[in-house]
């Protein structure tokens, strides 16, 4: 019968087609190269746990997919009404149902899912485990950047406040305690773990651990307003010695500006930028600060007794130690080879500072990243002259 032959061919073509598509996908989507946010290339234990859970699920789902879809294709070819079929002649058998079959295809998937559920439960429980010596990092999400605080001596005062890029030691658990300063955000470094929401009024914990050194890209994944799409962050995993060096660098006395331009820039910073941005060690100004922050204003840092508070704008104390700026959107250094960890206790990124982007940003921040400063959301256009921009840039470059 023609239908029989056709249906066999259709089924074979279907299976081959699906397998080919699957092969294409597996070949293409798991690779981390050129896909900094891929979820299928775990680089840490937690992400690996998730991967180990999801791969069997994908395989089972793939098999069911093949059975159903190829089944449809086969039936369409096998049971099609041919042109010479007449109603009333050789009509199909009128089957109303089959109770054992129904019970079977209720119970079998349920059992299959029950088996997978065991692994699901194990993984859910394991996600919150962390070692006792875990590094503690406070994370505060706000429109549209992330702040990190490290309290190194557990005295209740944060010793390092930085933004956009957090550092963790390779191989050691890091517990990120995630809060929000305004709306709900979500902290997500796909290579290291799943995401966790930053919610006002609550603190949520997320355990990150990296198996090897590198800079891991992240992205805010809970819709948080205008610039949600470009609210990025990085976690930099450093070998233990370099991590210690990083801590030392971040808590060291800041370098003072030496050139005339940089000094003028510092004055400008105190007069304009310091209304929102903090650089540890700078004296406060007479200008009234913006007051819309809902976070308690404290004195942070070891270096200064009279530090300015960070007021809903990134703390810029060691600005140039970061690899990225503008909410993690742009590299702060050009030709900066992606950090792989070379074992040397060198924490400053290499490459040429991305001066043009710093200037563009100072010229009109809202052009680089959508913001609404009239509503206290984001950085206002300060209307700086080109000379002032040069001076400020010179000053920012000294913040090491």
């Amino acid at each position: 019968m023609a239908n029989k032959r056709r249906s066999t061919i259709a089924a074979v073509v279907g299976v081959v087609g699906v397998l080919f598509l699957g092969w294409l996908l597996i070949r293409n989507i798991g690779l981390p190269e050129g896909r900094p946010l891929t979820t299928l290339s775990p680089q840490g234990e937690k992400a690996q746990d998730i991967q180990n859970l999801i791969i069997p699920v994908f395989i089972v789902a793939g098999l069911v997919f093949i059975i159903i879809e190829v089944g449809i294709i086969w039936m369409v070819a096998r049971f099609r009404r041919n042109k010479d079929d007449k109603d009333g002649v050789n009509e199909p058998e009128q089957v109303h149902g089959n109770t054992p079959l129904e019970i079977g295809w209720t119970i079998v998937p349920a059992l299959l899912l029950a088996v997978l559920a065991v692994f699901n439960v194990q993984t859910i429980v394991a996600m919150d485990d962390h070692s006792a010596d875990a590094v503690q990092v406070k994370v505060i999400g706000q429109q549209w950047w992330w702040e990190y605080r490290y309290d190194l001596d557990n005295d209740g005062k944060d010793d390092i406040i930085t933004a956009t890029e957090a550092a963790i030691p390779v191989g050691r658990d890091a517990v990120f305690s995630i809060q929000s300063n305004d709306v709900i955000h979500s902290f997500w470094i796909p290579a290291l773990n799943g995401k966790k929401d930053a919610m006002p009024g609550r603190t949520h914990q997320l355990v990150l651990q990296a198996n090897k050194a590198g800079i891991y890209q992240g992205q805010c994944t809970e819709f948080c307003g205008l610039s949600h799409g470009v609210m990025r962050m990085q976690v930099k995993a450093l070998p233990p010695a370099e991590y210690q060096a990083w801590l030392k660098q971040m808590t060291s006395v800041p370098a003072q500006p030496l050139t005339a331009d940089a000094k003028a820039g510092q004055e400008l910073f105190i007069g304009q930028c310091a209304r929102c941005h903090q650089v540890n060690g700078l004296l406060p100004t007479s200008k009234a600060p913006f007051t819309y922050s809902t976070m308690p204003i404290q004195n942070y840092g070891k270096v200064s007794q009279t530090a300015l508070a960070s007021r809903n704008a990134p703390n810029l104390t060691k600005f140039m130690t970061r690899d990225y700026f503008i909410g993690g959107l742009y590299p702060l250094y050009l030709d900066n080879k992606e950090y792989k960890g070379d074992g040397k206790a060198e924490v400053m990124p290499k490459g040429v500072p991305n001066v043009n982007m710093i200037r563009s940003w100072l010229r009109n921040p809202a052009e680089i990243k959508p913001m609404n400063p009239d509503n206290n959301q984001g950085m206002p256009n300060l209307g700086l002259t080109e000379q002032q921009i040069d001076q400020l840039t010179a000053y920012l470059l000294t913040l090491k």
């Binding site: 900094p36 979820t39 746990d49 089944g71 049971f79 058998e93 699901n120 966790k196 307003g225």
Partner: protein
């Protein structure tokens, strides 16, 4: 519940003039036009209401589709500057809300309104004026919601509008006010409609139409109405809190004042998840009608189809927090909701296997309706499987809020709900309008749509797993998102082209029909359920005589019997069995002005809440006037004095059916013709 009395049925002499006596109340006279624009505006006929639901929701499909095209244009290339972040946020929010509340739900309501009374053998729904009210409330609520575009911008917080981003501090435009008030208004309409249809199913079934003889579509619609009755109060509460936070300075969701953003998340998703089933189950019902007809086999495992539908509806209440696996609600909650979510896949799988089993061994005729139905089975399976993959909570923390989720729910709601609705359109079009849609253009429509759909949403699985986040207005070079985004944009325009073909099909088929009318007859597809037993297009009074139902697939069994080997044997042609549509003087509920008047009042109250409370005064006056008008307008019922009279012909058929049959409706019975036990002239007064 019927109160049975020992009295002979009322008799109606044929040819009696049923025109109402002199109107007693002047302005409260009921309108009488049944054609022209008045016939549509003031109608209480469930069929006209259904058609209007369908037509207007299709217009909103074009609006939501245009918004979708804007989204895809913006994301076609990295760093695109076509839309600003602000406009993009409004567009994707309005796209989501429009597709959910202004397209899929009302389009399903179109089928429910049109078909549900026909499938249970009723003359109308239980409360015809309430039915008109729910239509117009929805229409004016939807228009109100869309006027936000002209009054300061649309809502910009996503369809889920998580607090506190939805508060006035972070979203100072009026968009989210329109969202809150608009959905509250539309919620009134949906609640009225849900109660109405629930009562209709329970009370208006034809003699012998027991619950387990109802067509699967009616069953699924019934489950949906029950879900709506319970889900809508939850979103109403949530929207009230949001409205008070925004308009009157309350702090329900403000953590710094002791409120909690979690409250909104839970309330929204307790509604939001059953909402998913509210959108998909009607299409499951439609497909369950189409596949048996074009396989020439009864639906496989009818009780399991019904049971799994009920199970989905029931379990749908225990899985809402799977939208919140990343929200930090704690491992115990995550565990419970993760397991519940995994197992809701079981009844869904049962449905898919039953559709396949219905096709197995059948003689498949690939009409456009059948193609769309098979398309649903294939595409929904993909959405179901990706759904299982994020039932696993740890996996979901990688997938949630990425394009993987966007792919998933579009496979469910487009590949599921929308394909099913198109199947229904091609299937019931001749019944509703008396002409066929072109099968040739329909096939173009189907294949373009299937290809376009997979091109658009298939790549989104890959984008999501590669880490592309949802609700982003842009992406950059070097993230690896370029290729698949371009493919998705091309796919979206293919879908748009398919929709153009559909519209052209409607127009050109109508023209062809006008030039050369060919009546499709009562039963063009050799179908199974009661609506095919009456002429096409459906007469205003539906059934000449209300059929007495003896079996599931009653109409089919009047046409076909079985021989000793279980083979089909035709015992009568459709024309022999079908009703002629020649009944005269069937008493039908009269049209009314007041549903429309009341519905116009509500958006005015809405503008008042948002801009200036004085606006609410004319709105409130209209609503109150409409309530008085509604109560005071005369019933044109010829035996208005006999409202307490209930049918009693329970001795002719099984008692359970008789007990369920009458309800509050007024009915009178004439002499029974030979083959039906009783002819009921049931018409509700509404």
């Amino acid at each position: 519940m019927a109160i049975t009395e020992e009295r002979p049925p009322l008799e109606l002499t044929t040819g009696e003039d049923l025109a109402p006596a002199t109107p007693p109340f002047g302005v409260f006279t009921r309108p009488s036009a049944t054609s022209g624009w008045r016939g549509w505006l003031f109608t209480v006929d469930h069929k006209k209401i259904g058609i209007m639901y369908g037509a207007i929701s299709f217009l909103f499909l074009l609006v939501g589709g245009a918004e979708a095209l804007l989204i895809r244009l913006q994301l076609a290339v990295p760093g695109n500057k076509l839309l600003s972040a602000d406009v993009y946020n409004q567009v994707f929010t309005m796209h989501g809300v429009t597709m959910v509340f202004l397209v899929v739900m009302p389009m399903a309501a179109a089928f429910a309104n049109y078909l549900l009374p026909l499938q249970i053998g009723a003359r109308d729904v239980s409360f015809p004026r309430m039915n008109a009210l729910s239509l117009w409330i929805w229409v004016f609520g939807a228009i109100f919601f869309n006027t936000s575009w002209l009054l300061g911008g649309g809502a910009d917080g996503g369809w889920f509008n998580y607090a506190p981003n939805s508060g006035v501090v972070f979203s100072p435009s009026h968009g989210i006010d329109f969202y809150a008030v608009g959905l509250l208004i539309m919620g009134i309409g949906s609640t009225v409609s849900a109660v109405n249809l629930t009562v209709t199913v329970l009370n208006m079934r034809a003699p012998g139409m027991t619950l387990m003889r109802m067509p699967v579509f009616t069953w699924m619609t019934f489950v949906v109405q029950v879900l709506l009755v319970f889900a809508l109060p939850v979103i109403t509460v949530a929207l009230f809190l949001l409205m008070f936070d925004r308009l009157f300075g309350a702090a329900f969701f403000d953590a710094s004042k002791g409120g909690d953003p979690f409250l909104w998340e839970h309330l929204f998703w307790i509604f939001g998840h059953p909402e998913v089933y509210i959108m998909i189950l009607p299409s499951f019902g439609i497909v369950s009608e189409v596949i048996p007809v074009f396989s020439r086999k009864p639906i496989f495992g009818y009780p399991f189809m019904v049971g799994s539908g009920i199970a989905i509806g029931f379990m749908g209440w225990g899985v809402w927090a799977h939208h919140m696996f990343a929200s930090g609600m704690g491992p115990i909650s995550v565990l419970a909701f993760s397991l519940a979510t995994m197992f809701i896949a079981v009844p869904t799988g049962v449905k898919i296997l039953n559709w396949l089993a219905t096709m197995y061994g059948g003689r498949l005729k690939f009409t456009v309706a059948m193609l769309f139905s098979i398309g649903l089975v294939g595409m929904f399976t993909i959405g179901g499987l990706s759904g299982v993959s994020h039932a696993f909570a740890p996996a979901d923390t990688q997938q949630t809020d990425t394009y993987y989720i966007v792919a998933h729910f579009h496979y469910v709601l487009f590949g599921g709900a929308l394909l099913g609705l198109f199947a229904g359109m091609y299937f019931w079009w001749p019944k509703a309008f008396g002409y066929f849609l072109s099968e040739k253009l329909g096939k173009w429509h189907f294949w373009m749509m299937l290809v376009g759909f997979n091109l658009t949403f298939g790549p989104m699985h890959i984008l999501g797993l590669q880490g592309m986040m949802r609700r982003t207005y842009t992406y950059t070079q070097g993230q690896g998102f370029n290729t698949w985004n371009m493919v998705a944009t091309i796919g979206a325009f293919t879908i748009a082209l398919a929709l153009v073909i559909f519209m052209w099909n409607v127009v050109s088929s109508y023209r062809k029909h006008k030039a050369n009318p060919v009546n499709p007859g009562p039963d063009p597809w050799d179908a199974r359920s009661l609506e095919w037993m009456i002429p096409s297009p459906t007469p205003e009074w539906n059934f000449d005589e209300v059929p007495v139902v003896e079996e599931f697939d009653e109409f089919w069994h009047r046409k076909y019997g079985h021989d000793a080997e279980g083979r089909l044997v035709q015992i009568a042609t459709a024309e022999e069995v079908a009703q002629k549509g020649t009944a005269k003087n069937v008493h039908l509920p009269s049209p009314s002005y007041w549903p429309l008047v009341m519905s116009i009042g509500l958006p005015l109250v809405g503008y008042g809440l948002i801009f200036n409370l004085w606006w609410a005064v004319p709105g409130a006056i209209l609503v109150i006037a409409a309530i008085f008008g509604w109560v005071l307008e005369p019933s044109t019922d010829p035996d208005a004095g006999h409202h307490d009279d209930h049918d009693d012909h329970g001795d002719d058929h099984d008692p359970s059916a008789a007990a369920l049959e009458s309800g509050d409706a007024v009915g009178e019975t004439t002499d029974a013709p030979a083959e039906t036990a009783a002819e009921t002239e049931e018409a509700p007064v509404g």
